[in-house]
């Protein structure tokens, strides 16, 4: 199964109703898409719901998959649209949402990377820092936030991002620039430069 490309798996799902092909796609994209949605929403519980909805839609609308697209492009597009709609539907402002979130609760379900075996103090510092970065990114307007996350964290190319968001390549670049400027201002304002 792993030797098949994403697009071959999609084709197998569409033509033969191969549920195992779908399961393989889910396995491949579960981690990156869930992390992407979490970064975009800033809330793990919403991220879980929206992730499930993303894959439900992928399955439900499988027949409308454009074979000219990469599967990843299509999946990220569905996830982004769902998240942006969800963010828009919320009546609170971004700032209020940040206040509402109990970071301890969220991060208790997100153990820090154990590879480096950090000490308890290091863990606390890292957790605190991650929360601050999450708040920073969350302060970006939705349009800029998705682009920045796709580029900086999901490490997708600008061309790929343009396809996902269905906007010109130039717009991706200008919005990326704009998002970094805003983030830098906030980092300076909150005195975070010295945290490193």
């Amino acid at each position: 199964m792993t030797t098949y490309s994403d697009e071959q798996l999609m084709s197998s799902l569409i033509k033969d109703g191969d549920i195992e092909a779908f399961e393989e796609l889910l396995t491949r994209y579960e981690r990156p898409l869930l992390i992407y949605i979490f970064r975009l929403m800033g809330d793990y519980h919403s991220a879980q719901d929206l992730f499930q909805e993303t894959f439900y839609r992928i399955f439900k609308h499988r027949k409308s998959f454009d074979p000219k697209l990469r599967f990843s492009t299509w999946a990220y597009r569905i996830a982004t649209n769902l998240c942006i709609n969800e963010l828009k539907s919320k009546t609170h402002t971004s700032e209020m949402l940040i206040e509402d979130i109990n970071p301890g609760k969220i991060f208790s379900r997100w153990p820090l990377n154990r590879k480096s075996n950090p000490s308890p103090e290091e863990k606390l510092i890292k957790k605190d820092l991650e929360e601050k970065i999450r708040d920073l990114v969350k302060s970006l307007p939705e349009k800029l936030r998705s682009i920045f996350i796709l580029s900086r964290y999901q490490e997708l190319s600008n061309r790929e991002i343009a396809k996902i968001l269905e906007i010109p390549l130039g717009t991706v670049k200008s919005r990326l620039r704009q998002s970094f400027k805003l983030l830098f201002k906030l980092i300076e304002k909150r005195g975070l430069i010295d945290e490193l």
Binding site: K15, D16, I19, L34, F55, K60, I133
Partner: protein, 492 residues
């Protein structure tokens, strides 16, 4: 170069969107301008800072989320399959219904035979490909491959001491709406079995231990650290044994006529399948049922068991899949023995005998709880779900998280556990009448406790006598003519 323009170029540098020409200009400017060098350092720090956000998802969360997605997708797939079948409308008469299911399923078998016998597709490989495309399954036939000795299957599985498997079930009503869905992992040994049940629709887990030696059925709620215990009678144990151990089900299946289905790959193993579609076959908690068993051609042990059954006069259709079999795996006693040191016992009840008194008591308790309504079906698969649905309705307003009425402090555990046990007994009573051709009919979907003198359930007791359980739960024996009159009143 103008310092004001530099900021954009520095950002472009980090974003990797700076072209070569501008990069050269930027480098030469930075060599001369201290202010811009400082800016670059600040940007570098900010860029590095932003990199420090690396959420890690616990693998257990990933597993659970994946499981939930796949459960929903399989259910959605089932709905799509159903809506694509043109003749899925349920019929009231059970014979018609069974014949209908038979047609749907047999058509696949006929298709198989047709293609195999067709001169154009005489090659087995070609046939496999065509079938694969039509059924969405990868069929491969090896002419010289080992064969399954079906006659010895029962003997082989009876000699197994310990085995595990997973089951998934999805129940849909006539509109394709979920009425129940769960996944379970089973661990079976000679002393008993354990069942880890997950209900994706309410995201809740229950672990159930049945011990043949202690004659107990223990239901553990890990999330709230509580458990209930049902003391089992020997009579009940015999019935339960039959229902929960697929080896006994397979033994029973093999006593019916079956059709060979050919071969396919199941979880990467080459398997040979048979289908049981006998009109009398329906003992698995359903009123009408079709089963397929797939056996590994090398080990000659089952790898997949699929059941598709109807209940509640065709109102509910359920699909159950038993898979991931591990035969004769490593047996660790702690798997089937619960450690309840941190749990509190919230209810203990005794299983009731399978007789009319238990049926009356069960229906009375259920109707009390459900404002006069009776369970719409006495098929095991849907009655259990109806209990949960009824409790959901009652507790809807005060439930804290989703549907978890079990979490409430004042939850009536005794009543809930007793009702479960009683209704289970009632379903068994009904199933046994059904399977011994006693012409049993149950009208729970039409009759309520508020109706007067309507037949709720009836079955044959002698050649010309029927026993009727009325809507007020009184019992009377009547002739065939009297019964016809009473049932006419019901239909009018």
């Amino acid at each position: 170069m103008n310092c004001n323009k530099i900021e954009d170029q520095l950002i472009d540098h980090f974003l990797n969107i700076l072209n070569q020409e501008d990069r050269v200009k930027l480098d030469s400017h930075l060599g001369l301008c201290l202010k811009c060098q400082q800016k670059l350092e600040s940007f570098k720090k900010a860029w590095t800072l932003l990199e420090k956000w690396e959420p890690v998802i616990p693998p257990s969360d990933l597993r659970q989320i994946k499981q939930e997605v796949m459960d929903n997708i399989r259910a959605q797939n089932l709905i799509e399959e159903k809506s694509s079948k043109e003749s899925f409308l349920p019929t009231i008469e059970s014979e018609k219904r069974k014949a209908q299911i038979g047609r749907q399923k047999t058509s696949k078998v006929l298709l198989w035979k047709t293609i195999i016998n067709n001169k154009i597709t005489a090659s087995a490989t070609a046939a496999a490909i065509v079938i694969g495309i039509l059924l969405g399954v990868n069929f491969i036939v090896k002419l010289s491959a080992p064969r399954v000795a079906w006659g010895k299957l029962v003997e082989r599985i009876e000699n197994i001491d310990f085995y595990t498997f997973r089951s998934r079930s999805i129940s849909l009503d006539i509109h394709g709406t979920f009425v129940g869905q769960q996944t379970s992992h089973f661990y079976v040994c000679k002393d008993g079995f354990r069942m880890d049940r997950h209900f994706p629709w309410i995201n809740y887990d229950i672990i159930q231990y049945t011990s043949w030696l202690d004659k107990t059925f223990i239901s553990v709620h890990p999330e709230i650290k509580k458990y209930t215990r049902t003391l089992l009678t020997d009579e009940y144990i015999n019935r339960m044994h039959f229902r929960e151990d697929p080896r006994l089900s397979i033994k029973m299946f093999m006593s019916y006529n079956y059709t060979k289905l050919g071969r396919k790959f199941v979880d990467g193993q080459e398997a040979e399948g048979i289908e049981i579609n006998d009109p009398k076959f329906g003992k698995f908690g359903f009123e009408g049922c079709i089963a397929q068993i797939w056996v590994n051609v090398d080990t000659n042990l089952p790898v997949l068991l699929e059941l598709e059954g109807t209940s509640g006069h065709g109102i509910v259709e359920t699909k159950v899949i038993f898979e991931n079999f591990k035969w004769n795996g490593e047996y660790d006693e702690s798997i089937v023995e619960p450690d309840l040191s941190e749990y509190s016992l919230v209810a203990e009840v005794e299983s009731m005998p399978v007789n009319e008194e238990s049926v009356v008591l069960a229906l009375h308790k259920f109707s009390e709880l459900a404002n006069g309504k009776y369970p719409s079906s006495l098929a095991n698969s849907s009655a259990t779900v109806e209990i949960i649905m009824t409790y959901l309705k009652i507790h809807k307003e005060k439930m804290r998280r989703g549907f978890l009425f079990w979490e409430e402090e004042d939850f009536d555990w005794e009543g809930y556990t007793a009702l479960h046990s009683l209704l289970n007994t009632t379903c068994t009573f009904y199933a046994e009448l059904f399977n011994t051709d006693k012409e049993v009919v149950y009208h729970g979907e039409k009759v309520t406790a508020d109706d007067s003198d309507l037949p709720l359930m009836r079955w044959k007791i002698t050649d010309d006598k029927y026993r009727i359980l009325f809507s007020d739960l009184t019992i009377e024996d009547v002739s065939a003519e009297q019964l016809a009159e009473l049932e006419e009143a019901l239909n009018s």
